[in-house]
């Protein structure tokens, strides 16, 4: 039985250490309830599919920090090429793909890849060396420490439940404030 997104993120919370966590779409509605530090960046408003690219840039800029991007499967499908870019520019980037087969923030419509896309295989094929896939909460709990250990890049596929009837999440604060907080925390403001 797949885990819920909240359960998946609760496990992540225990292993994120001092890394930046960028959340997109559905995860952006849940993560601020679990963690709301300056190193938590809610990527809303976003450009669809570009969370991993934003995270890669940040990881390249801050090589000692580490960046975790929580991406939806629908988002990942919108920019599969970023996995190739990630493999080409090794950095301490961890891309977590929450796979529920749906565009959740639009209410829950299946996307073109629902049920038949192997994200781990795609990531490996793109050249990412460290790829993990967890389909149950118990497996994710058992494997998270290894999967989230440095160095990146790492792609982690998590099979999660789809939530129907969701509304588009709102960020906990305006983008300008999020940017100010993050850059201050990174010492680059």
């Amino acid at each position: 039985m797949p885990m819920t997104q909240r359960q998946a993120l609760e496990v992540l919370l225990h292993h994120r250490t001092n890394r930046v966590v960028i959340t997109t779409m559905s995860s952006a509605g849940i993560w601020p309830q679990l963690s709301d530090t300056p190193l938590d960046f809610t990527y809303i408003p976003s450009a669809m599919g570009h969370g991993p690219s934003l995270g890669l840039g940040l990881a390249l800029a801050q090589p000692d920090r580490g960046v975790i991007v929580v991406n939806g499967d629908g988002c990942q499908l919108m920019s599969l090429g970023n996995l190739v870019t990630t493999a080409h520019h090794p950095a301490n980037l961890f891309v977590i793909i929450l796979d529920n087969g749906h565009y959740e923030v639009t209410g829950g419509q299946p996307h073109a890849g629902a049920g038949h896309v192997d994200y781990a295989a795609i990531a490996r094929g793109a050249g990412v060396q460290r790829v993990y896939s967890f389909t149950t909460l118990a497996d994710w709990v058992a494997g998270a420490s290894t999967a989230l250990a440095n160095p990146g890049p790492v792609v982690i596929h998590l099979l999660v439940d789809a939530l129907m009837g969701q509304k588009t999440p709102k960020p906990p604060r305006l983008m300008a404030e999020q940017i100010r907080r993050l850059r201050e925390a990174l010492g680059v403001a």
Binding site: P45, S46, A47, M48, G49, H50, G51, S53, L54, G55, L56, G57, L58, A59, L60, A61, Q62, R65, V67, S79, G81, N82, V84, T85, H88, H89, M175, A176, I179, L182, R183, L186, G187, V188
Partner: protein, 160 residues
């Protein structure tokens, strides 16, 4: 005259740290010089929208990136540049190659790239200058410095 060594030197003199790009025929000629310049990292991406988001991440992390793409990719990257320039308000500098610019001026091409590039850059409310074969590396550097001084996104369009 803009060639690889002069462009690389101009960008380095401005303090640019990363060139995030997908080259076209003209920009591609800069590859060797950009790759060989100390302090300047060339970041290759797979699609132009990635370039804008990746550059935004570099900027969030305290670096000074620019994006260099062909106009075709600029067209493709609309949502990403909207997000980076207007939602995130990042003062990103862009180099955009305009395919068939000279041929279009001479009425010698059916290529529609030159028809749409300047109107679309204007539609995105991005100040720009066209750099042609009379332009110098100083023109490029000055455009970048203008962008940084104003803290507002700006583009140079490279006539091709």
């Amino acid at each position: 005259m803009l060639d690889g060594p002069s462009v690389a030197a101009a960008l380095k003199s401005c303090g640019v740290t990363h060139v995030v790009w997908i080259p076209d025929t003209e920009l591609g000629a800069w590859n060797a010089a950009l790759s060989a310049t100390d302090g300047l990292s060339l970041v290759r991406v797979c699609r132009e929208g990635e370039a804008f988001a990746l550059a935004a991440g570099l900027w969030l992390g305290g670096r000074k990136p620019i994006v260099a793409v062909q106009c075709t990719g600029f067209f493709e990257a609309g949502d990403a540049l909207r997000n980076v320039l207007f939602d995130m308000k990042i003062p990103l500098f862009m180099i955009v190659g305009v395919r068939s610019y000279y041929a279009h001026q001479q009425g010698a091409t059916p290529d529609t790239c030159p028809v749409f590039t300047e109107p679309i850059v204007s539609a995105w409310q991005i100040p720009y200058a066209v750099l042609d074969n009379r332009s110098s590396p100083d023109d490029l550097a000055n455009a970048y410095r203008h962008c940084q001084a104003e803290q507002r996104a700006r583009a140079v369009l490279i006539a091709e």
